[in-house]
Symmetry: C2
Subunit: 491 residues, 2 copies
């Protein structure tokens, strides 16, 4: 077995990327700091106590930025960018810093531009359902504002209490409602961004209208651009009506084939009301049960659990549809056991299981997280394949558990290898094997987490070289000196 | 009144654009024809009987192309583009030629590249609901194929029997289902296009996956690009489940304010089941009744009519929701009269009224069509404003009728001035007034029809100059010699 004799010493993730050469951006001087202070005020140029900006929440990545800038408006961002363009200073835009791929953490000593204070403008048009707000609003906060008007945001994810809407757009965040409302492209209508030209120009794209075919649809180019084309300052997004009926079920299923059959029935029976179709395997459920102490309401941990949510504008429709759907699943012997709840509060118990998964798997040991899309037929096959592939090396690699959870409804699996410690072997040998396997099976190596630092060296696998070259040219158009979020994604 | 003394002689639309200077593209020679024949075969280079390609279906625009190319695959398109790049030959890509702004008709003698034969590949994945097909498939034809599997396309428009999916994507076609399924951005996942570089490179973007964050989302840049960045050859789109329940109603309403109130109730009551919310004013209904002989099932032509469709995965839900919704509208005295039908066939009678509108208004005289988005509050105000503004000049301008219909649910109004003949005055004096009014009221001068030839000179009104300059640079990146669809949109 290839891996057997190659276990090396433990190391932290940061050191795995040192192959990237530092470019000749200017190192921040006292004069620069003084100029930044002139632009945004003394209190908003931070040089001390900036560890929380230099480090991601999982403490996987650590930057060495000497300076954090906290502008309050687009005009200040524009002035900062204009200055950095002139002085050749690199900038890492940072939203809620809730990412998992190191996208908003400097690689070296790039200046951090935090969007925390960019939260002046918020308007909501109740007739059209369109929100227009600054990038620094927290997703949950926007939801709270919309709820008063009977609306909510079309996206929902675990980080909702901390992530900013600007970052959601910049990373094309996915989450648990995508199956009903589509991704950010489905809901975004316009945005403003500061681009990296000599003027720090503010580029205003799209509008607060559902249909607008008057120019290239540049708005969509910023969705998923990971802060490499410009700094998103304001977004226009279509909100969706807050549902009057919510029914949630947790099902215990014995085989993956049966999970797929349940999905097909859910799609046809729940139709436009199917909001979430989430998946957890037994290893994930064990972690949830053991490390987060969230109770699994079955006699024993099932082989697979599905969390299915159905929402509707009328209270009784979601429950009736869910009941019909469940009775079909039971009749076909697809479901071993299950519970169903109605209403938001009742459903929390079920969602706690699903939402505890990402943190639970980190509590057993060091976790290698993979975020991938796969055709449904291969959704769980990688798990089986890797268990076999790594079986002989389990002890030497310190592997404790291999587990999967994620969004079966849209083909996005979060695959996790938990080990006692972090080793080169998984980064250097297991990673490439997995990424090649994904591409060979027509999947995507990054479904919703993006490329960031983590996948920079893998993003070309199976990619069209013409597309990559066009992407570089587009990056160059918006950011000719390459000062925005360097060393990531498009390098 | 400004217009009173300025009525000039009648002329056709084509002559209104002659201010554009012809650029120095190469005129097609016999040698070029012979080279095209080598690439795609003798039978597929047409020099005779090409009027139907040189003219749009409304016969508003007429090109002078000497040659129509009908390639069968992406590789042939690539070879054509490579040759045209070398020889500096301009190309107008043409799909179903169902547009209303002259986007697919040459301005001068550009070569026409028809996508009629690009229809080799069609695959549908029933689990994910994703269609992958060549650009030359007709929208209705795709629907017929999907219906067998219980799916349909998310877009639906009057031209569905003739328009190609490639053209739908290239123009970001809107239509009558947008309120439920979103626009093309909501459903497109990937596409292949030939770009205008020296190799005629085939650029493959996105994938057949719901989530894929591995590069810039270039796919979306081609949506609404009107054939100016490249020639779309293949698309990957998410289909939507075919509904089991369809309920359609036609309501007679007395004031526009009441129409708005009905819309708000429809949004909250019909929620995710609201599929269409269409609007026709009495002048439009008069035309439908008189010129298309489609009966209006009310005692008298109403001031406003609304066509509302509600669809659902379960048969009885759409009818129950529609009944509830209607009873609320009646209780609030918002609706004067109304009919409701269940099922696709029963609903045809109602849809015939709506679908007859575009052609009916052309039968009374020469029609100036405006396709705009407006905030709902201003949706009908332009009609009132223009009736007043043009009242004194009605006879001199030969104005017969001013009428509006369109997609009230998404704010897209089709505003029509019908006159006895075509005159400079409306093009040169009324057009700018209207476009300025739209922009002053935060609308879009082109909602779903695009810019094409018609609006090229107006597209900069109220536009961000940075965005326009970036658009030109992006055009230059994909098509450095500017050979794709010149003189349109981005000039």
């Amino acid at each position: 077995m290839m891996l057997r004799n190659s276990v090396k010493s433990s190391l932290n993730l940061r050191n795995c990327h040192t192959l990237l050469k530092k470019r000749t951006f200017k190192e921040i001087t006292n004069n620069d700091i003084s100029n930044f202070r002139k632009i945004i005020g003394d209190n908003y140029v931070k040089e001390n106590n900036i560890d929380s900006y230099n480090e991601d929440w999982m403490k996987w990545y650590k930057g060495k930025s000497k300076c954090v800038l906290l502008p309050k408006c687009m005009e200040e961002i524009s002035e900062i960018v204009k200055y950095c363009y002139k002085e050749n200073i690199a900038i890492v835009p940072q939203s809620g810093n809730t990412g998992l791929v190191g996208g908003s953490i400097p690689m070296f000593d790039e200046t951090i531009l935090s969007l925390k204070r960019l939260r002046n403008n918020f308007t909501f048009d109740q007739t059209s359902g369109i929100v227009e707000c600054d990038a620094g609003y927290i997703l949950e906060e926007i939801n709270d504002k919309l709820k008063e008007h009977g609306y909510m945001m079309p996206i929902d994810l675990g980080a909702k209490g901390s992530c900013f809407i600007g970052g959601n757009v910049a990373t094309c965040a996915g989450g648990i409602r995508l199956i009903k409302f589509g991704n950010i492209h489905a809901n975004i209508l316009g945005l403003d961004a500061v681009i990296g030209d000599k003027n720090g120009s503010i580029l205003r794209m799209g509008s607060s209208l559902r249909k607008d075919n008057t120019d290239l649809h540049l708005t969509h180019l910023f969705v998923g651009s990971e802060g490499q084309l410009g700094i998103i300052g304001n977004v226009k997004i279509l909100a969706v009506p807050y549902p009057n009926g919510i029914s949630t079920s947790l099902l215990s299923v014995n085989t993956f084939d049966e999970c797929k059959k349940v999905l097909q029935i859910a799609k046809s029976q729940l139709g436009e009301n199917l909001t979430s179709f989430e998946f957890l395997d037994s290893d994930t459920l064990q972690c949830v049960n053991e490390f987060s102490k969230v109770p699994i309401p079955f006699n024993k941990i099932p082989r697979f659990a599905l969390v299915i949510e159905c929402t509707s504008s009328e209270e009784d429709i979601s429950s009736k549809k869910m009941e019909n759907f469940l009775s079909i699943c039971y009749d076909k012997n697809l479901v071993d056991d299950g519970i169903m709840t109605n209403g938001f509060n009742e459903g929390r118990g079920i969602w706690n299981i699903r939402e505890s998964a990402p943190l639970s798997v980190t509590k057993e040991g060091y976790v290698y997280k993979y975020d991938m899309s796969l055709p449904i037929d291969y959704f769980y096959e990688l798990n089986n394949t890797m268990k076999k592939y790594l079986n002989d090396d389990k002890e030497e690699l310190g592997i404790l558990r291999i587990c999967s959870y994620g969004h079966l409804g849209d083909g996005n699996v979060h695959f996790n290898i938990i080990s006692k410690h972090s080793t080169y072997d998984i980064y250097n040998r297991v990673h490439p094997y997995i990424y090649k396997w994904i591409v060979d099976h027509k999947g995507s190596i990054s479904a919703e987490h993006g490329i960031g630092q983590l996948k920079q060296k893998y993003m070309s696998i199976g990619k069209d070289s013409t597309q990559m070259s066009i992407s570089r040219s587009i990056k160059n158009l918006f950011d000719p000196k390459g000062i925005f979020n360097p060393y990531k994604f498009i390098n």
